[in-house]
């Protein structure tokens, strides 16, 4: 792949609020391929700035005194690329009619800002500089539940459950790590567990489908246990296990 030179984009920031400008300026400073050439507090100043400098990218607020940002963008000849930054979601549609690159809502997060900048690079056809937003992929943790045993909450990994047995006033949860006895009902256990991974095979038994080692018409084998299939549950169990 040929190595295109990374172009530096000249930026102008227009906003009537100084603190709002600061946010964007700080963001611009964090991106190596962006360079701030002017900051303006109104549209007239910005007009001059755009005429005097070679400006590639304009960050503009919409609602400013004297001249609306949208009006300002309309009257610019050879307008640079525009990213609108505003507190008003209701201008979004108008913004897109003006052919702006992106429409950001205040307060803007850096990640969102970068996304907009990447759009600019894609549209100008320049090689996108590698700017990392810092990957924020959620680390997927193993699913778990808590059960209340005698005066203690016990964390149970769902994958560890071998089966659940209902007794009169409590349920027994048989796991790879031991047996937990809790004062809940079978209905509660069933409602807590993921419905497509577990199956109620009997009035007093729930088993994880993945741990079923074998089954016939009357019983199911999970772990070392043999569990009866209830008459009322038989049809559902067979349909689910064979299907």
């Amino acid at each position: 792949m040929e190595n295109k030179p990374v172009k530096i984009l000249n930026c102008v920031v227009v906003d009537d609020e100084p603190l709002a400008r600061e946010v964007i300026i700080r963001f611009i400073e964090r991106v190596p391929s962006l360079k701030l050439v002017a900051e303006c507090s109104n549209a007239i100043e910005a007009m001059t700035a755009v005429q005097q400098n070679e400006v590639d990218l304009l960050f503009a607020d919409i609602q400013m005194p004297e001249l609306l940002g949208t009006e300002f963008i309309k009257i610019l000849k050879n307008p640079p690329q525009v990213i609108i930054i505003t507190a008003y979601p209701q201008y979004a549609l108008e913004g897109y009619e003006l052919d702006v690159v992106d429409y950001l809502l205040k307060p803007v997060q850096f990640e969102r800002f970068l996304k907009a900048i990447n759009k600019v690079f894609q549209q100008t056809g320049i090689a996108t500089p590698s700017v990392n937003a810092g990957d924020k992929t959620e680390t997927k943790q193993e699913p778990y539940l808590y059960f209340r045993t005698d005066r203690k909450m016990v964390k149970v990994m769902i994958d560890d459950i071998i089966y659940i047995e209902g007794m009169k006033n409590y349920i027994k949860i048989i796991t790879e790590k031991g047996v937990i006895i809790t004062k809940n009902s079978m209905a509660a256990a069933e409602a807590m567990l993921p419905g497509d991974e577990f199956i109620r095979v009997h009035r007093s038994y729930i088993v994880p489908k993945a741990k079923i080692r074998s089954f016939n018409n009357e019983t199911i084998e999970v772990g070392k246990a043999e569990i009866p299939i209830g008459k009322l549950f038989k049809n559902d169990v067979m349909r689910s296990l064979q299907g």
Binding site: L19, A20, V23, K106, P107, Q109, P143, Y146, S185, A191
Partner: protein, 376 residues
């Protein structure tokens, strides 16, 4: 508005009771009418009562066919869908069928009934050919069937109209309320967001956590102010709202609180009614984060299956929840009400409340388009 379950409930026991009551009242009224109307022949009251009652029973099969086909086929399929020409055609066909069924039952049973009552001997009523029974059976059967069908149809249509009115008024009320709320909120939203942005700017360097919170709070407020006036919003937006809300709530509590949120991205572009799930999440935090619980725990999990959204919310609660008014909380009540109004027949809500744990399982049909298939 309190509505009598005997009239409006869809539960089988109410429906059966309702229909039985209708037929019994109808029979009694017919018998009563036959007593009042002077008879052509000089018959005793007893005879006339007998004739009216058994005359009715004789034509019951025809009546049942006419009434129930009208109620569950012609009315919902044609009349309510304004296909009037087809409806008329079907009514004519039904009348003919009813007349014939009436003729058959007349031919089969009329002699037996008279014999039963008058004790007439066999030779007097030797069985005649079917065709000779047709005219009387057809006309009489159709006449009594049409009377009962008329009553049943009016009740059905009146009920339908009432249901619609009821839903409209409730929806209207909700809408007015929502509009009022959003008016209140829209007084100075630009001031609000610009100010939030300024605080964001100030805290950005000094306190990244604070500025992160500000962004989430702004997103949340903006969503509630601007998106929620639409009947449906993108599921991904609703999920984002919940994530923002959870992130903001998290900071309020100690590190002991174990929060497990799993809201997978919606790849199918489904739509859902806005702010439907939030009250359920709020409820979890309200009760699941109590200091009385040794291990506060909240699990919020959603998944999609064949166009349905399955939401599971679990939170720990004290072992002896002494009247925390949980199940009857205003939040849950509102969710139930909204589900009944917005997703009639398209949702299942299961709430399990036990010592130590509270579970909500919600299943609802998602909309594929923004202007959805909402009825009403």
């Amino acid at each position: 508005m309190q509505r009598s379950p005997f009239i409006f409930s869809d539960e089988p026991r109410y429906r059966i009771a309702r229909h039985l009551a209708f037929w019994i009242v109808f029979f009694i009224s017919q018998a009563a009418v036959s007593l009042v109307v002077p008879s052509l022949f000089n018959r005793s009251n007893r005879e006339r009562m007998f004739e009216a009652t058994f005359g009715q029973l004789l034509y019951l099969p025809g009546q049942l066919i006419l009434v129930y086909t009208l109620l569950y086929f012609v009315i919902p399929k044609f009349i309510l869908k304004t296909k009037y020409k087809l409806a008329v055609l079907w009514i004519i066909i039904l009348c003919i069928i009813t007349g014939f069924v009436a003729s058959i039952s007349y031919w089969l049973w009329v002699d037996d009934i008279f014999r039963l009552y008058f004790g007439i001997n066999e030779k007097f009523i030797e069985k005649k050919v079917f065709s000779s029974y047709i005219p009387v059976g057809f006309i009489n059967g159709l006449r009594v069937s049409l009377v009962v069908a008329g009553f049943a149809t009016s009740i059905k249509i009146l009920k339908q109209w009432y249901e619609k009115e009821y839903r409209n008024t409730v929806l209207q009320k909700e809408k007015l309320n929502a509009e009022l709320q959003s008016l209140k909120a829209q007084l100075h939203p630009h001031f609000l967001f610009n100010t939030l942005n300024n605080i964001y700017s100030i805290t950005q360097n000094s306190s990244p956590v604070a500025s992160e919170m500000l962004v989430k709070l702004s997103d949340l407020l903006r969503y509630i102010l601007y998106q929620c006036d639409q009947p449906l919003v993108k599921l991904s937006q609703e999920f984002q709202l919940i994530k923002d809300y959870v992130a903001l709530e998290k900071i309020r509590y100690t590190k002991d609180l174990d929060i497990d949120v799993s809201l997978p991205p919606d790849e199918n572009g489904y739509y859902i009614s806005p702010l439907l799930l939030l009250p359920l999440v709020e409820n979890c935090f309200k009760h699941g984060s109590s200091k009385l619980i040794e291990q506060p725990w909240i699990k919020i999990q959603a998944e999609q299956k064949d166009g349905f959204l399955l939401v599971k919310l679990i939170n720990a609660r004290p072992a002896d929840p002494v009247g925390d008014g949980f199940e009857n909380g205003i939040g849950l009540k509102n969710v139930k009400k909204r589900l009944d109004l917005l997703y009639p027949g398209r949702h299942e809500l299961k709430i399990i409340s036990e010592p130590g744990v509270f579970i909500v399982n919600l299943k609802l049909e998602l909309d594929k388009e923004q202007n959805g298939k909402q009825t009403g």
